[in-house]
């Protein structure tokens, strides 16, 4: 086995260990609640009214069977894992016949369509601005740095709230929330699509702005650091062309930024939960929010599992890519 393979194996081991521990958390924590969660939920449904005694009985039986609450905790865990392996996340408490994976499957495309373009565009713009600020200094740096600092210290949901108020309520330029007009039902036609686009801009904008700020600060710091490095001074003293030096700097400064991009894509599901809530956007954030309000534990667990898988996988892929592109890591992994 080569040293590089050992590095990969090592990373894979940590990936699965972290995943397993996270899975145990995900399984165990809702079960640690004082009292039987099923009692609590069915009781709550009953006080809410609208449920016949028979429906209650049926739901109760379904949940007990679902969780196997009469069995020892280890066999419950085995059941949980084997169902997961088949892609079954269980039945939603609040939207009873619907299965969790269906609900998530409906919400996830909205989240991805909102976040992925925002992350990529924000990342590109932010890096260009940050690098420019570091090289040009002067007014650009003086103006950009404090602004980015203020914007990126602003919690992302705060900016969402303010944008929603200013651009949808105070000046009604954009529609005030939702993923599409409430008068429409989702369909593959032009009216629906244009309504979706109309509702898209505001949440998109609020995510891009935050992302640009954060990336610009990071890229500026990295570029300043590289500008000061010995290899830059040495190249300058040799009279190497300025553009060439900038290319060197850019390559080195970009490495952590690329990691940042990969990790941002990994945390895409959890990255803007509250933005979705603010705009009433029909994605994972809104699903999580309503599930928390309704104590819909299977859905909450499904969402946390999804977030976990996305983040862990992105981390793992970044580690592997680093092993390929960064010779320092290969060297360290082989213990030189």
């Amino acid at each position: 086995m080569t040293r590089f393979q050992r590095y990969l194996l090592n990373k894979a081991f940590w990936f699965f260990l972290a995943f397993f521990i996270a899975l145990i958390f995900n399984f165990l924590l809702p079960r640690l609640m004082p009292g039987n969660p099923v009692d609590a939920i069915v009781g709550q449904m009953a006080t809410g009214g609208g449920l016949s005694g028979e429906a209650q009985q049926r739901i109760y039986a379904a949940y007990i069977a679902e969780f196997g609450l009469d069995q020892p905790i280890t066999s419950q865990f085995v059941t949980y894992v084997s169902r997961l392996a088949q892609g079954d996340l269980g039945i939603s408490f609040a939207r009873s016949p619907a299965r969790v994976q269906q609900l998530i499957g409906q919400a996830l495309p909205w989240t991805i369509a909102l976040q992925l373009p925002a992350i990529i565009i924000g990342w590109t713009l932010g890096n260009i601005l940050g690098a420019l600020a570091a090289y040009k200094k002067g007014w650009l740096d003086r103006g950009l740095f404090p602004t980015s600092m203020f914007i990126s210290s602003m919690p992302y949901y705060c900016l969402s709230i303010i944008l929603l108020y200013v651009l949808a309520v105070f000046w009604p330029i954009f529609p005030a929330g939702g993923g599409y007009s409430y008068a429409l039902t989702p369909a593959l036609n032009w009216t629906f699509f244009s309504s979706v686009m109309e509702h898209y801009w505001l949440p998109f904008l609020s995510l891009v702005v935050i992302f640009v700020g954060g990336q610009a600060i990071g890229m500026r710091a990295m570029s300043i650091y590289e500008l000061d490095a010995d290899y830059v001074r040495f190249s300058r003293s040799l009279g190497v062309d300025d553009n060439r030096i900038i290319a060197y700097i850019f390559r080195n400064a970009m490495l952590p930024q690329v990691t940042g991009l990969a990790l941002a894509i990994g945390s895409l599901v959890s990255g803007a939960l509250i933005t979705e809530i603010v705009f009433g956007y029909p994605g994972i954030g809104s699903l999580l929010f309503s599930s928390i309000r309704q104590n819909d534990y299977p859905v909450i667990q499904g969402v946390t599992l999804l977030i976990m898988i996305a983040v862990l996988t992105a981390n793992f892929l970044v580690d592997i890519t680093y092993g390929f592109i960064d010779p320092r890591i290969r060297a360290r992994a082989s213990g030189d």
């Binding site: 940590w14 990936f15 260990l17 972290a18 521990i21 996270a22 958390f25 995900n26 924590l29 809702p30 640690l32 609640m33 004082p34 200094k137 600092m149 203020f150 210290s153 602003m154 919690p155 949901y157 705060c158 709230i161 303010i162 929603l164 108020y165 949808a168 309520v169 105070f170 005030a176 929330g177 710091a221 300043i224 650091y225 000061d228 945390s267 959890s270 939960l273 509250i274 809530i277 603010v278 999580l288 929010f289 928390i292 309000r293 534990y297 909450i300 946390t304 977030i307 976990m308 983040v311 862990l312 981390n315």
Partner: protein
């Protein structure tokens, strides 16, 4: 002809040192001072505000749903007809308290694990760092959501601890790196040879040398603690009694204050959260510049 400088007395050297320090401080002044004054002002508002303005009950009903600002309710009322201005003062209190508890818990765990791992090395280090890496890779929002659900009653203290126990690994990792390099210093060897026990050695010979670093980490943790609390509250997993800035926002969103144009219900808590975060970030980055001259630019 220039005068040959006289040998300096201790006092003169001290004064010169002080002057130098003051010069450095004045270089950093604008950002550091601005952050400090801003934070001080917010703290003052949260701690003494209720007594100064004689508004000591944030849960008192003073009007109807979303009354606009008036002489009795300076910033209007919220969805239950409670005074927004009073709630803000108590909201700052809660948010800062939770932030401080979370920051303290995270810093304590992080420093303990980091120093012990970095100083002891070997198996202990391997195990502690493996633990740290696992907690880092599992996204904190997942642990936060699951832990918050597991606790039926969430007091201020519980909230702070929940946030603290999920955010310590960053501190642990950084502190371990610092400790590993400090471990080989001579004064540490001297202390070890004179028989100081390990924990005492870590406390007296290692921690003082990275105190500035620990302070910086604490400020960061405090900041993220406050924001995490707000985020959890907006997801509906905040403290179950009392008011915080995040809980104010949650109610404002649930009761459609944004779409009905009741700006007083959501703009003030939004602004305060941003200001708290901004002041802490200013402090943290200017502390960073004091100790890392490469970041300084004239």
């Amino acid at each position: 002809m220039t005068a040959i400088p006289q040998e300096q007395t201790g006092g003169q050297m001290f004064m010169a040192g002080l002057k130098r320090t003051r010069n450095t401080m004045s270089l950093l002044n604008p950002r550091f001072m601005f952050g400090l004054v801003l934070l001080g002002f917010l703290l003052f508002f949260g701690i003494f505000g209720p007594f100064i303005f004689n508004k000591t009950d944030p849960m008192k009903f003073v009007g109807m749903l979303y009354d606009p600002p008036s002489a009795t309710a300076w910033l209007g009322t919220d969805n239950f007809g409670r005074d927004v201005f009073t709630q803000l003062m108590f909201g700052i209190r809660t948010s800062l308290m939770i932030g401080i508890i979370a920051g303290t818990v995270a810093t304590l765990i992080g420093v303990l694990i980091g120093t012990v791992a970095g100083y002891t090395g070997g198996m202990v280090e391997e195990v502690l760092m493996a633990l740290t890496n696992i907690v880092i890779t599992i996204p904190s929002i997942v642990i936060l959501i699951l832990l918050s659900i597991a606790f039926k009653t969430r007091s201020l203290l519980v909230m702070g601890i929940i946030i603290g126990v999920t955010t310590w690994p960053w501190t642990a990792r950084a502190v371990r790196a610092q400790t590993s390099s400090l471990r080989t210093r001579e004064h540490v060897d001297v202390a070890r040879l004179s028989g100081t026990p390990t924990l005492g050695l870590i406390f007296w010979e290692i921690i003082p040398y990275m105190l500035s670093y620990i302070v910086m980490a604490f400020v960061l943790q405090l900041n993220s603690g406050i924001l995490q609390e707000a985020a959890l509250s907006m997801l509906g997993l905040g403290i179950d009694k009392g008011i915080s800035l995040g809980i104010m926002l949650q109610w404002a969103l649930l009761w459609e204050s944004v779409r009905t144009g009741a700006w007083w219900a959501f703009i003030p808590p939004t602004l305060l959260l941003t200001l708290i975060a901004f002041s802490l970030l200013l402090l943290q980055s200017s502390i960073d510049e004091i100790f890392n001259p490469r970041l300084r630019r004239s």
